[in-house]
Every structure is written in C-alpha cells, then in structure tokens.
C-alpha cells in the first residue's frame, strides 16, 4: 500500500517536492480558506479592467487608421491585452507552486475543464484569466448552482458559445432586426455542464432552453447585462417544468439553472467526472454513488461531494491509474525542482516561462485552448501515445539540463519526488545512471512520475 501522504500529494495535488509538507485526508479540505490569499498574491486582471483595455485598443485602432502616427499607441494597447492574456498561465503556475492547498488548485482546473471556454481572438483570450477567477474560483468550494449561474452569465462563456448573438425571434429587438436563436450554449449546458449526454432530454428541451436563455447579453463597458429586449416572450417548458412568461427576467433563467443543478442526473454526471478526473479512468461505481448522494443531500454543495470522495476507500487505493495531463506534468516538474512562484515569475526566467507555454502546445495541451467545449480527454491512453510520450521524454531531457544545479544526487531526487511510489525497476535504473542529468531525465520521464 502506498502511504496516504504520497497519494494525497500525487493524486490530489501536483506531486511532491522539497518544499511540500505531508498532507492527510482532512488537511486536503482544510486549507480552502487560504485559496483567496494565493489568488491575491498572484492576481490577474478583472473583466472590468480587460473591457477597458479592449475599448482602449479599439479607440487606438480607429485613431491609427486615420493618423498613421498613432500606430505606436495602438501597438501599445495590443501589447497590454497580450500581457493580460499571458498573465493567465504565469499566475496559475505561481499559485500552484506557492499554495498550501494544491487540491484546491486542482479542483479549480477541474472546473475550468468542465466549463471549458476558449478565447477566439485577442480580446476574448485576455478574458480567460478573469473568467476563471470570477466565475469558477469563488464557487469551487461552494454550491454548484452558484458556479453554474456565474459561468452562464460570464462574458467569456457567453461569447464562446455564441449566446451573445442569440435573440428571441419574437423579442422586440429580434423582430426589428430580423434576428433569431442560436442553440449552441443551450445544448452544451444540458449535454456537458449539467445533465450529461445520456440523460433524458431531447431536442425540444434544447430548443426551449435556447429560448429561455435569450436576454443574456453584453455591454461593452459593463460586461454581462440582462437585456429583456432580446428575450423571447412566453412560457418555456424544460424537462416538463415551465419557466418565464410575458415579462422575461433573469430570475426565470436562474430558476431553471437551479433545477438543472439539483437534478439527480446532474449529480451523477458531476460525481462521475470528478471521480474520473481524480481517481481512475474506470472509477468504482460505489464511489460515484457515494459522491452523488452527498451532493444531493447537501443542496448541491461541492465540498460535500469532495469530502465524500476523500472519505471513500476507493480514493486511496491503487495509485497510478491516471496519467497526468501535460499541464499537471509540467507543474509537477517545477514542484519537484522546488521552484517558488516568485522565482518562476522572475525576469531572469523568461526563457523557462516561454518554454512552459511552448511545451504545453507540443504535448498536445495548449493552455486554455481545448479543441471543443467538452475540454481535454481524461483517459491515460489519450495522452501516453508514442508521440505524446516522446514529447514528455524530450522535455525531461531539456529540463534535466536547465535544473541540473538543483539536484546533487539522482537517488535523493527520486526519493524526494516519488517517495514510496517509485517502483523497483525505476529505483534500479536511477541507481545505474552515470550523471545527474541522466538521473533527472529518468525520474521525470518515468511512468511513476507521469501517473497519479
């Protein structure tokens, strides 16, 4: 049996490192209160700030079109937006490296994947970090329904799944401008965000929900805005429940989201996804059942579901059933090297920062750019392909050069990084290395380090 502290660090965190202190089951949930302070220590730009930057860029562009001399100012506004976007990966990395509760950061990224949204141009890409901090982070330990409402009203999601351009065909503005529905968000909301594709909903429910969601709009200065002028009037029936009437309002939408969040199929869908993400690609059905029950019995409180996961024996068995996704693989490396958040952000480490970003793309997981709204694949064999593993090995070789001064003895590095998770053959192979770099490469490229 692998020690609890090893499993806690590797399965529920970003692995072991010289700075990490051993955690037990209770401590994993105990440190959620500290999540705010780490976000404050490494902040990102809020939606409000980003919208101002976008407006500034658009104004500067107009000016530059009329007067070429103003081109420089336009370039500066673009640069500002690019920096805002780049801050996402930088601060996320720094937070993980310095946090006292890696489990919270893992959960944060789990929900970011569950509610995948991708920026399609510079202006929207710059909103990605704000989306995570405003729509997800405050609710990671709260109620799922609250997270759902925050996501569905965030400009980043509204833009990504086209909701901002969906108009009620019979709304005042829809009729005047001859605009109509777009089903994109409504369908993914049922299929991906709440009930799950196997649940008992149909095209009629998708259509009715699309009608109900009209009204979710944007203002260029304020961000989210409910606009009754684009809302489809009339009652909508979703899964047999009626919503709305002649005077559309946001509360009708929120009441549908509450009901969807409270649906047993949603509970099961979320429990299964969490168990798959953290424990196993084929999780124990009893674990899912236990988590589903905790969710339904707690008015959809996510902490109750996490606690149910952590108290179930299946969560502490057979380490290594999952493969770390590239983002977690890279962060585990930095963790193993004992890098601090400040060190990572240091100007001197520009090359390392760039390399983290490029390596994510090379390993098939460009930062916050999943190929579709269903996010990244979970199964180990989706990632540990010949080409995927070749890229991980190549990165391990490069890292072993970059960080060689941080490791004196490969055997010590192996013990500090994998503790009792290292297998006999790996221990033997590391003992046979002739130089430190080779040892570091073996540890980082090993199956034990890439699994959790």
């Amino acid at each position: 049996m692998t020690q609890v502290s090893t499993i806690a660090a590797i399965r529920f965190g970003y692995g072991l490192g010289p700075k990490s202190k051993p955690l037990n089951k209770t401590e994993l949930l105990g440190g959620f209160a500290g999540a705010d302070s780490i976000a404050k220590k490494f902040p990102v730009n809020s939606t409000k700030v980003v919208l101002q930057q976008v407006l500034a860029m658009r104004r500067a562009k107009k000016a530059a079109n009329q007067k070429p001399a103003d081109r420089e100012r336009y370039d500066a506004t673009r640069k500002a937006l690019k920096n805002t976007a780049a801050l996402g990966l930088l601060q996320a990395t720094a937070r993980v490296l310095d946090t006292d509760n890696a489990f919270f950061e893992r959960l944060n990224w789990f929900w970011a994947d569950h509610f995948t949204a991708v920026g399609k141009n510079l202006a929207t890409r710059a909103l990605a970090p704000a989306y995570l901090d405003e729509a997800l982070r405050p609710h990671v330990a709260g109620r799922f329904a609250d997270m759902l409402k925050a996501v569905i009203t965030h400009p980043f999601m509204l833009t990504y799944l086209d909701q901002v351009s969906s108009f009620g065909p019979n709304s005042a503005i829809g009729k005047r401008r001859n605009k109509g529905l777009n089903e994109n968000l409504a369908r993914e909301l049922l299929e991906l965000h709440t009930l799950g594709v196997g649940a008992g909903y149909g095209q009629h429910d998708v259509r009715q929900l699309a009608e109900l969601l009209t009204g979710l709009g944007l203002s260029k200065k304020q961000g989210f805005l409910f606009n009754p002028g684009i809302s489809e009037p009339g009652t909508k029936t979703i899964l047999g429940v009626q919503y709305g009437g002649e005077h559309p309002n946001l509360e009708d939408i929120f009441s549908a989201l509450e009901n969807l969040a409270a649906h047993p199929e949603t509970a099961h869908h979320l429990a299964r996804k969490l168990a798959v993400h953290f424990v196993s690609d084929q999780p124990d059905p009893d674990l899912i059942k236990h988590m589903t029950k905790a969710y339904l019995g707690s008015d959809g409180h996510l902490s109750a579901m996490y606690q149910a996961m952590l108290e179930h024996p299946a969560a502490w068995q057979s380490l290594g059933q999952k493969a770390k996704q590239p983002f977690d693989f890279i962060l585990s490396i930095l963790m193993a090297m004992g890098l601090t958040g400040q060190e990572f952000l240091n100007q001197k480490n520009k090359k390392l920062q760039k390399s983290v970003n490029n390596s994510l793309s090379a390993m098939g997981q460009p930062f916050m750019r999943a190929p579709g709204p269903d996010g990244w694949p979970e199964a180990a064999n989706e990632w540990i392909t010949p080409q995927g593993l070749a890229n991980r090995i190549t990165l391990s070789v490069r890292v072993s050069k970059f960080f060689r001064d941080r490791v004196t003895d490969p055997g010590d590095f192996l013990r500090a990084t994998l503790a009792d998770a290292a297998g006999e053959r790996l221990i033997w192979a590391v003992s046979q290395t002739e130089d430190t770099r080779e040892g570091i490469t073996l540890v980082l490229a090993s199956a034990e380090f890439n699994r959790r």
Partner: protein, 404 residues
C-alpha cells in the same frame, strides 16, 4: 516485495554493448519481411465539429434551398447544373474538372437525435450501429480493416497528429506519430528507460513505438526516398501542428510502406457567421488535399481521400447567420483513384416534409456504405468482411462505383 524477474547482470552486459535493440517490438520488426498490401492508398480526414454540407455543396437547383437560407448566401461555382461548390473550395475546381473530386450528399452515420458532437464523432470513428444492439465500440473501423487486410503490418496505417485517433485504435498494430516529433536520447538512456517502463504496458508500448518510429524517420530522411525540401519544410510548419504539416507527413509516409493515413481538421462548428467560419475552414481542407496530391506525386493515381464529419447541420439557417447541429451531411472524396466529377447520393429535397425531424437534411445513405465500397474496391475485400468485421450490422447496399 518480490524482485523484478529480469537478470540485472544480463541487462548491464547489454548496456555495455550499445547499439543492440532493447526489445523486439511487434510494430516494425516484421516490416522488412512482409510485403506491402498493394498500391492503393486511403486517407481518411475527420472533419470535427459538424460540417454544413448544404453550404459546401449547395443544392441551388432545389427551390427550397434559397428559402431555407435567406442570409447565408456564400459565393459558389456551378458543379453540375444542380449543385454548386462553395468558393472556399475553389482551389479544388481543377480536380473536379480532371474528375479527381467527388461528393456524396445527404449521408450520415446511424447517429440520431441527441446531436452531440462528441457522441457523434465517437460513433463515426467506431463505425458501429447503436440501435442494432452494437454499443459504440472501443476500437475503430480503420483498425478493423487492418485486421482483415492480408500483409498488414504496424507501418501500414498511420494515425497522424497529437490526438489519439479512435478510428485507428484497436488490436491491429498501427503507427501513431506527429510530424516534427523528436526523441533525442542516448542509447544508454533508452535502455534504462525501457527497463524502468517494463512493468507498465502503456508506457512500455508507447516508448518502444516512439523509439522505433523516431529511428524510422531519421533513417528515411537519410535515404533517397526522402521527401523534397519543400515537403520537409511543410512538415515543420507550426511545430508540425498545422493541417499542412499533417498532410505533408501523411504523403511522405504513404510514399513509403504506409497505405492508410488518418488525421483530423477542426473548425466546422458554424453556429454563427457561418460564411466567415467556412471561409477559414474550407481553404484548409482544400490545401490539405492539394498538399497530399503534391506530396504523393505519381502515387496520387492510386489514392482515395475520404473526408467525413459527425453530422450535417440544420437545413434552415438559425438566427445568427449560422446553422445548428443537424443530421444528413456531405462526404468529400478526392484522388486519382476516384471516379470524380460527380455528386453522388440520392437527393431527398428540402421541403419541410422531406426533412429529418422537420429540421435537418434527411440522410438517404450511410457514410459507412460509401467508405465500405471504396475499401472493397481498393483493397479487394469481400462483402462479408465489410458487413461482419469492419462495420458490424451494416447493410452495404448497392455499390455506388466511386472507385475507378
């Protein structure tokens, strides 16, 4: 704890004699001895996101088309008097004229009603029939093709790109690689890593395949058969991640012992501003096909490219100058082996009563039949292999005669 069973003395000895292979991997060791299964080459392109067939090959001869799409008026060129080709594929017109380009309209997989991209794509790649009691299988139909193909080796089929393609997953060995992937490890580090992976089949298998493929690429690049400088430059585009890089790499492999290649092209989920979105996606598809043709040279004459998508889109445009998820769609076929210059399929019409669910283009054919007949003609497979092993539960129907 029991000790690993290998003898460390033996391994240490072999470590000192560098250069010998770490293990016999079934993937490539047989290649030298096996004969390549024929000259026919098949490239399958998976168009992820649900391509709107109605906008790509537009049924301008159907009076209901203009009614269904008052605001989606993309430029198109006449194909056969009834259908017109979206100008996003204008670069393929020379292939249409030389009869190396064909389309099959109003086709779909057996997937119905839920209209999920992800289930739709899984079923497209699995090639099974869910309503006939066959679950969405874990292996893909191109892998099942390899299982019945005489002389197939691990190099016969290539899954190209970073993603793990389900369509090629299964019991038959295939090669998985992305262009521009390197594996610079000392022989010694390879041996130690192979030893460390020994008890983990997933890592062991992937590492052995990676090592053999990395070597294969290095060796092929050093021989006379290497691709031209221009094609090699293409393979490095965008770190080997662009569509063009995938196409150039596919052509290079198909010029060697590979006969089946597959990769995917994204960008077809056109819920809004479809005109703009297709103007980006279609030229990428056209360029991929043209890069394949250029790279394949004389081998293009024996090549069939089949591009397929998980579903078509709504017959009517939606309220945001786009279309939502639908059912019946379009297949694109190209290559010297294709009986081109023709839009195949049975046109169901676009009157409301003719639509599926009063919403989508009615599928009148199954994409698996089209692919099945193509494979039958290319690789000499019989009907029972197609209806039994490759597409279980499918009734192939009449041969549309798409392969010359």
């Amino acid at each position: 704890m029991s000790k690993p069973s290998l003898t460390r003395r033996g391994l240490l000895k072999s470590l000192s004699v560098l250069g010998c292979s770490a293990a016999a991997h079934p993937l490539l060791t047989t290649v030298t001895f096996a004969s390549v299964p024929g000259d026919a080459r098949l490239v399958v392109l998976i168009l992820r996101g649900g391509m709107d067939g109605l906008d790509v090959v537009q049924p301008v001869g159907d009076p209901n088309y203009a009614i269904a799409r008052p605001n989606l008026q993309s430029e198109a060129q006449d194909l056969d008097g009834y259908f017109a080709l979206n100008n996003g594929l204008a670069d393929l017109m020379p292939l249409w004229q030389s009869r190396e380009l064909a389309f099959v309209h109003a086709v779909s997989t057996p997937y119905r009603d839920k209209r999920s991209h992800f289930d739709g794509q899984d079923l497209l790649e699995a090639g099974t029939t869910p309503d006939a009691g066959f679950a969405i299988s874990r292996d893909g139909w191109l892998n099942r093709l390899l299982q019945v193909m005489p002389g197939a080796t691990g190099e016969t089929a290539f899954a190209i790109g970073q993603e793990n393609l389900k369509i090629l997953s299964g019991d038959a060995p295939v090669s998985n690689w992305a262009p521009n992937t390197k594996l610079n490890l000392s022989e010694r580090a390879r041996m130690l890593l192979t030893e460390a992976y020994h008890d983990d089949p997933l890592f062991r298998g992937a590492a052995l395949e990676a090592m053999e493929l990395a070597d294969l690429m290095v060796n092929d690049a050093a021989t006379d058969a290497a691709a031209s400088d221009e094609m090699q430059a293409m393979m490095r585009q965008d770190g080997g991640r662009s569509d063009n890089a995938l196409a150039a790499f596919a052509a290079d492999r198909l010029n060697h012992d590979t006969r089946i290649a597959c990769f995917s092209i994204n960008g077809w989920d056109t819920h809004r501003n479809q005109g703009g979105a297709l103007n980006r996606a279609l030229p990428r598809l056209a360029q991929s096909i043209l890069t394949l043709k250029q790279g394949l040279g004389d081998n293009w004459a024996q090549t069939t490219v089949i591009a397929m998508t998980e579903f078509g889109r709504t017959a009517r445009e939606n309220g945001t100058a786009g279309t939502d998820h639908g059912t019946g769609g379009l297949m694109v076929l190209a290559g010297g082996a294709v009986a081109g210059g023709k839009v195949y399929g049975r046109w169901p019409g676009l009157a409301e009563a003719d639509l599926y669910d009063r919403r989508d283009l009615m599928p009148t054919g199954d994409v698996r039949s089209v692919a099945g007949w193509a494979m039958a003609d290319m690789f000499g497979l019989d009907r029972s292999a197609l209806e039994g092993a490759i597409f279980p539960g499918l009734e192939l129907g009449q041969n549309p005669g798409i392969i010359l």
